[in-house]
Amino acid sequence: MKHLTFLSLLAVGLMLVGGGTGCRKKPVGVTHIPGAQGGKNTFGSPRDLDRQGSVTDPDVFSTETGYSSTQKPMNTGPQDREVLKTETVYFDLDSATVKESEKSKLQRVADYMRANTANDILIEGHCDERGTEGYNLALGERRAQALREHLIEIGASGERIYTVSHGETRPAAEGQGESAWSKNRRGEFVVVLPAN
């Protein structure tokens, strides 16, 4: 009975999520993790539902974009950091939400991927120095994953997109203050060529 109540609350929560984010195109190549949206090992109490949904917090994923168990290893050839440099996406403080103003860059990354099918994309998530090193590693990963998810949603192949976090250790701009910090909260797209 308790379970039933929980499930119906979950359903309401999911409907609200749907309403909050509009009609999202069904993502292609997204691995749905069993239980990712409720169930045994999640923060499953009804009180936590609004935390999990995007009703009050748009800063969450609509789905989990896991790697499939058959994900091929990333290319081992040279890395080109220049070709997609202008598409670097910037984030708000302590946020992994991809801002509307940044989404056109993702379209250009997806176009590049369609035109260069042998190349992989490594998305690097970076943070400013205002979090702890331990926390920023996780936040940077989440930023990179958010970009990966959006690329998959607009049709890019998840099998060719990899993520990594550098936390706060590789800033784009040195110094303190918002002008430096805002340049450091970013996701960079690195093109990884096939070996030889």
């Binding site: 999990q52 331990g134 926390y135 989440r142 998810e149």
Partner: protein, 389 residues
């Protein structure tokens, strides 16, 4: 004479034991989460010179002692280091000799650490940590490497030379072995590194990245953050990498797991609302519970004390502060500005990172007296310390 000394020694131990009992009872009534504000123990010290003198002063300062004039001291330490190190501790009041010992072998630095440990034990019955090791990350601008050193930063040894990035070194308890994150492959992998043989291997072969390994106190299991399922989640597996099990499935970013001493529970960082908070979960899986930490926001980098009583962590309300909270939850006590604390095996001393203008330095903290002292510096920017246990 010997017999008389022995008698004094016995009485002073009995006396000390009585004091301890009385204090233990007092502590029960105190509602503060940890018995802070303990005054350093005043001692006098004579007879040592050079490196031995400075080692002893460093070890005893961070061990909770104050150096005062002879007539204000509760204990007298004297000795010499002409040749081998020898030292003696006398109770100023009873004149009882609590310690009289000479040391042979090793470096004079190591002999001085041994004497410091013996002095601390003779006076407080606490085991010293002067012979323990730490591991940490040193950043050189374009790359970072793992280092191991004495607890005071001396005798640093560079463990990696990958010209890549590393993070989160973590000791396998009771072994000369570390786990740490490496970016050498382009993605983030956890490597295990045997300090005896120098052999390295990839700890887990999974798609995605691996961050923040933490070995259970019995050395048999590892908690780790993996991204193979999407956003960073908490997993556990056996020390050989087998038996991988997912503990959290959230869309938030989990980080920094730490084990309870009995290995039953893992404390880690996730989100509550929009802010980072501490959670506990059974190491076998189950419902996570938020750890109540009164008056504190943005909590990260927890480390569970080896005696199980406390969790130190970093909070950010303005600047970064190292704080401590009872492991069952309660109000937080701010210890010092700084971040990423790691307990010593004595559940009393903590090593943490301090931000300076252009670099980060490692510093030691004696929790009850809140005394802080930087460890010896190397050229890089040092952070993410892990104390060998």
């Amino acid at each position: 004479m010997k017999i008389r000394n022995l008698f004094h020694l016995t009485t002073s131990i009995v006396f000390a034991a009585c004091c301890l009992t009385a204090r233990a009872q007092q502590e029960l009534k105190i509602e503060r989460p940890i018995d802070l504000g303990i005054k350093p123990i005043p001692i006098s010290m004579t007879g040592f010179s050079g490196e031995v003198d400075s080692v002893l002063r460093f070890d005893l300062y961070i061990g909770g002692f104050d150096f005062v004039a002879n007539d204000k001291a509760q204990y007298h330490v004297n000795g010499s280091n002409n040749g081998a190190v020898e030292g003696r501790v006398t109770d100023a009041l009873s004149k009882a000799v609590l310690l009289s010992k000479a040391y042979s072998g090793g470096t004079s630095r190591s002999q001085a650490h041994a004497l410091a440990n013996d002095i601390i034990f003779a006076i407080t019955q606490r085991k010293g940590v002067a012979h323990t090791k730490i591991a940490f990350r040193a950043d050189f601008g374009s790359s970072s490497e793992v280092f191991v050193s004495d607890y005071d930063g001396h005798n640093p040894v560079r463990l990696t030379s990958d010209k890549s990035d590393v993070a989160a070194p973590c000791w396998v308890p009771g072994q000369r072995k570390l786990l740490y994150c490496s970016w050498k492959s382009g993605l983030t992998q956890v490597l295990s590194h045997d300090l005896g043989t120098g052999a390295r291997q990839i700890f887990l072969n999974v798609p995605g990245n691996a961050y923040s390994p933490a070995v259970s106190p019995d050395g048999r299991r590892v908690a780790v953050i993996l991204t193979k399922g999407g956003s960073p989640d908490l997993y556990v597996c056996n020390i050989d990498g087998s038996g991988l099990k997912q503990l959290t499935k959230t869309r938030d970013d989990e980080s920094s797991p730490t084990w309870s001493p009995d290995g039953s529970t893992i404390c880690y960082v996730s989100r509550a609302g929009t802010r980072a908070a501490l959670f506990k979960i059974s190491a076998d899986g189950g419902e996570p519970k938020r750890l109540t930490v009164g008056g504190s926001l943005n909590l990260t980098e927890p480390d569970w004390s080896p005696d199980g009583k406390f969790i130190v962590f970093t909070r950010k309300m303005g600047g970064f502060e190292v704080c401590v909270v009872p492991s069952e939850g309660g109000s937080a006590t701010v210890l010092t500005p700084g971040e990423d604390p790691s307990w010593a095996p004595n559940s009393r001393t903590v090593i943490f990172t301090r931000r300076e203008k252009n670099k980060r330095v490692l510093s030691l903290l004696d929790v009850p007296t809140k005394r802080v002292k930087d460890v010896a510096q190397i050229s890089g920017s040092c952070s993410q310390p892990s104390w060998a246990k």
